[in-house]
């Protein structure tokens, strides 16, 4: 990959080609009385036509967005009307899916067109037309290599590695342009391997050339990513999954997987976001390659444990061969490529809110801690019912192009995150220990302290914060409460049928709720003050005194993940100095392997440096490329809102 192209993209020089789409389509569509799918097809046609082919310097994998915005297809009135009649998930578009890139790349879009409906056909024609214009531009500029590739793809199936990569780029470009978002990458090393292998065998490419191509290809994920919507910049869902077993149960980690890890390490960019599937047979050297990437401070790879996930998915009713093929959605939710239509992040349960309700309603009269747990169980059920009852008539804006490259949908399950488990478990442990067992705090004192944000009975605060049981210290007293909480959550969703006929899946992720849910709540019985956030995803409380990463791993591998299989990783933050020795890469790899061997389901590691982050808050211009992991994605630190920055700084950080 050329440094010229890298600099060009990092300096955002290609932004000069961008223009706004200023025509108000929605009003026009309303006047004409077009149906939603007609509107989507028409908009896609207009946008592909409005795009101007641009070939960036030294680029081998082309296609770059030149239309900045995607205009609305509904007027505000219409959208309000739709919202009043349906449950609309997030923006209403298809998201968090892993389409069948493999098939499209193998057979070509013309073949896909045969089975497509009229809107699908139209979308295919439009994207081919844009490709042809790219081809003409390449010819005009004498870039015959590019023109030759576009002569073949996306019309026909790819016959080489470079064609397959270009084909993927076009598919991904089209999905984003259609309005879909959190478009994942899927099992890249599985479906791309045949093209890579064939070219290597034929002597067309070497590993060196393959790596160059991969880096160019990886760079393409970063050209337009600022246009991809998310809660924050960087939350774009371009997750790539490497390794793991195939649908027959054979391990697939191959030379292409290794090259992907190296390409990502060389580029040091936040996209694509690398996920490694591992299992008890994964050798230590794969973890070492992963740790080499962690060392770069990109916050990935994120690890998912096949041994837990596959069994959990099967338990939830997924066919074994589908379960074995799992990928992660935008962040960490386990989804099935090609045929999975799950909405993996439809809602979230706040564990600390449950505890808060129980404390306020029942603590005064409770005779025992068991009674409290019973009430927690009741309230979790009530909350899960409330969540489920609130999701009726789910409707998505139809996406003709997405429809073309998705197979028939087999799964329609809904995923519910579970946030703040450590805050909740710590709170319950404090109640059990200090109120019921040692009776050093009275119910009245606890209630008044929490209600007054510890203005009253301030003496409780240091006891609760610093001298109580905390999840993350391999302390069964509190860890068993956390195990129970997750069990109760999973049980409460078990057997529920969602409005699309699917099931519900409990998870351990938080997404942005570690801030949102925390803000909805006052102080909590674990000594958490009003306004303090929860740990991100599945992590210790921010102020808990933690023995270290080994105890954290031991605590957070205790719960029964096979029954709560929506995903959501333990997040470990290491001070970047840990990687000052080469030897430490191997030791971090050992820690990750141990996590997997102990039955953890998902893990992400961050290499951070608090002093550097604080300096970057003050001097953002100095750190344009400083990367941090947020909840299920990596981002450039200086592009985040301050509350997300502050949370990263406040997290537990292990200096070793």
């Amino acid at each position: 990959m050329s440094e010229l192209l890298l600099d060009y993209i990092l300096n955002k020089e290609h932004h000069k080609f961008r223009k706004d789409y200023t025509i108000n389509l929605a009003n026009d569509y309303k006047k004409k009385g077009l149906s939603p799918v007609e509107r989507m097809a028409d908009r896609f046609e207009r946008l592909t036509k409005a795009e101007t082919p641009q070939l960036l310097p030294d680029e081998k994998i082309v296609f770059v967005r030149t239309i900045r915005n995607i205009p609305e297809i509904f007027t505000e009135d219409e959208w309000q009307d739709i919202n009043s009649k349906h449950y609309i998930h997030e923006l209403g578009y298809m998201s968090n899916l892993s389409p069948n890139y493999e098939d499209a790349i193998a057979v070509g879009l013309l073949a896909k067109s045969e089975a497509a409906d009229e809107y699908g056909k139209r979308a295919i024609n439009n994207i081919i037309a844009l490709s042809d214009r790219y081809k003409e531009e390449a010819e005009k500029q004498g870039k015959t290599d590019i023109a030759k590739v576009l002569e073949r793809v996306p019309r026909y199936g790819a016959t080489s590695f470079v064609e397959a990569l270009q084909f993927f780029r076009i598919l991904h470009f089209a999905l984003w342009l259609e309005g879909n978002y959190h478009n994942t990458v899927g099992r890249f090393d599985l479906y791309m391997y045949p093209y890579y292998k064939a070219d290597i065998d034929k002597g067309i490419i070497t590993d060196e050339i393959a790596l160059e191509l991969l880096m160019d290809f990886f760079l393409s994920f970063n050209k337009d990513s600022d246009l991809y919507v998310g809660v924050q910049q960087g939350d774009n869902g371009q997750s790539m999954v490497l390794g793991g077993v195939d649908s027959h149960g054979n391990n697939v980690f191959n030379q292409l997987s290794s090259l992907c890890l190296v390409a990502s390490r060389n580029l040091k960019l936040i996209d694509p976001k690398i996920n490694l599937r591992v299992n008890k047979e994964t050798p230590l050297d794969v973890y070492e390659l992963g740790s080499e990437l962690t060392r770069e401070g990109l916050g990935f790879p994120q690890y998912s444990n096949d041994d837990v996930v596959i069994e959990g998915l099967v338990k939830k009713g997924y066919a074994l061969e589908d379960a074995r093929n799992y990928v992660v959605a935008a962040c960490w939710e386990f989804i099935i490529p090609n045929c999975g239509g799950d909405v993996a992040n439809i809602s979230a349960l706040s564990f600390p809110k449950i505890v808060d309700i129980v404390v306020r309603k029942y603590l005064k009269d409770a005779k025992s801690f068991e009674e409290i747990i019973q009430k927690v169980n009741d309230e979790i059920k009530i909350e899960c019912n409330r969540i489920a009852d609130g999701i009726k008539d789910l409707w998505f804006i139809p996406s003709p192009f997405m429809g073309v490259i998705m197979d028939e949908i087999k799964y329609n399950n809904f995923g519910v995150h579970g946030t703040g488990i450590a805050t909740a478990a710590d709170s319950l442990a404090a109640i059990k220990d200090h109120i019921f067992e040692h009776k050093i705090i009275t119910v009245e004192e606890m209630l008044e302290a929490v209600d007054s944000n510890f203005e009253k009975h301030g003496w409780l605060l240091p006891i609760l914060r610093y001298n109580s049981h905390k999840m993350g210290n391999d302390d069964d007293y509190v860890d068993e409460i956390a195990v129970k909480l997750l069990d109760l959550f999973a049980e409460a969703l078990e057997g529920k049928v969602n409005c699309n006929g699917g099931k519900y899946r409990a998870g351990t992720g938080s997404a942005m709720y570690y801030l949102w849910h925390a803000n909805e709540l006052g102080a909590s019985p674990d000594g958490r003050r009003m306004g303090e956030a929860f740990g991100t995803n599945f992590s210790p409380s921010l102020f808990a005194r933690i023995n270290g990463p080994v105890s954290v791993v031991k605590s957070f591998t205790k719960p029964h993940f096979k029954s709560a299989i929506n995903g959501g990783p333990l997040t470990l933050e290491f001070h970047s100095s840990i990687f000052s020795h080469d030897d430490s890469v191997k030791k971090v790899a050992m820690l990750v392997k141990s996590f997997v061997d102990m039955g953890g389901h998902q893990l992400q590691l961050n290499a951070v440096n608090e002093e550097k982050l604080k300096d970057a808050q003050k001097n953002p211009d100095k750190y344009p490329q400083l990367v941090v992991r947020i909840w299920g994605w990596s981002a450039y630190f200086v592009e985040l809102d301050k509350e997300y920055q502050d949370h990263v700084i406040a997290r537990q950080e292990y200096i070793v």
């Binding site: 003496w459 914060r465 005194r545 270290g548 031991k554 020795h581 971090v588 070793v656």
Partner: protein, 256 residues
């Protein structure tokens, strides 16, 4: 019997082979002016206060009835920010062994074990030997200054699996100047270690102008002969903990 420790650190990866858990023994006969664990010097429990974050609410200075706070002029359970802590816990060898054994599986599968550091573990040799007897089946290592009579040194060294011996300064006078003690015992123990069949490594902290001089390094090199040797770069933030235990960081005065 009971011993005095001030920390147990997990996932220590620079303290011997594999992934280790390190136990820090409190109390040291040396006073190296560059020491980065000042809370390890005194064998008595002491207060560690993070003064820089203190907003002066004085809650810690109000009278309390906690037994733990008796030796001190403050309450250690009062600070809302958790800034006031006791460094130093007295613990039975059996209880400490039980705590450490929780890590055994994890450490064993990762080619690691338990490392004893400090302070100076040899200062509590009886306790350490008793502890070692409870830790059968776990790889053990020691980080030591080697400052102990030879019998004590032998008693411990024969029981641990791996030894990391610090050799700081070859010249006796300079050693006394910068560490507070003569190095005669240390060099005698070095000879014993060399002649023993134990796996070991010599570690030399690199303190510019003090240990990191060409004379000293070549003299050390002569002393240790063929032994494996590791030079430890010095962390300039090492002085950070001194104000917390109310001690003066002498190295900074030397520098200024």
């Amino acid at each position: 019997m009971k011993g005095m420790i001030f920390d147990i650190k997990e996932f220590s990866i620079h303290d011997g082979p594999g992934i280790r858990t390190t136990v820090f023994f409190k109390g040291c006969p040396l006073r190296c002016i560059w020491c980065h664990n000042p809370e390890g010097l005194s064998i008595e429990p002491e207060l560690m206060i993070k003064h820089t974050l203190c907003d002066g609410c004085n809650k810690c200075k109000q009278k309390c009835s906690h037994k733990k706070c008796e030796p001190f002029d403050r309450c250690v359970f009062a600070c809302h920010k958790g800034l006031v802590n006791i460094s130093g816990v007295e613990i039975e060898s059996m209880d400490l062994a039980e705590k450490l054994k929780k890590y055994a599986d994890f450490l064993n599968i990762n080619g690691g074990g338990i490392t004893f550091s400090g302070g100076e573990p040899l200062m509590q040799a009886d306790f350490l030997v008793e502890l070692l007897e409870h830790l059968n089946g776990i790889h053990t290592a020691i980080q030591t200054s080697g400052y102990a009579d030879q019998e004590t040194f032998k008693r411990v060294i024969d029981k641990v699996d791996y030894i990391m011996l610090d050799i700081k300064i070859a010249d006796g006078k300079l050693h006394k100047k910068y560490t507070g003690v003569d190095n005669e015992l240390i060099l005698k123990n070095l000879e014993y270690l060399k002649s023993s069949n134990k796996p070991y490594i010599i570690r030399v902290p690199l303190i510019s102008d003090i240990t990191d001089t060409s004379e000293n390094l070549s003299a050390i090199s002569n002393l240790v002969g063929n032994s494996e040797i590791e030079y430890l770069p010095y962390n300039t933030f090492a002085g950070a903990k001194y104000p917390m235990v109310g001690r003066e960081f002498l190295l900074s005065r030397t520098k200024v």
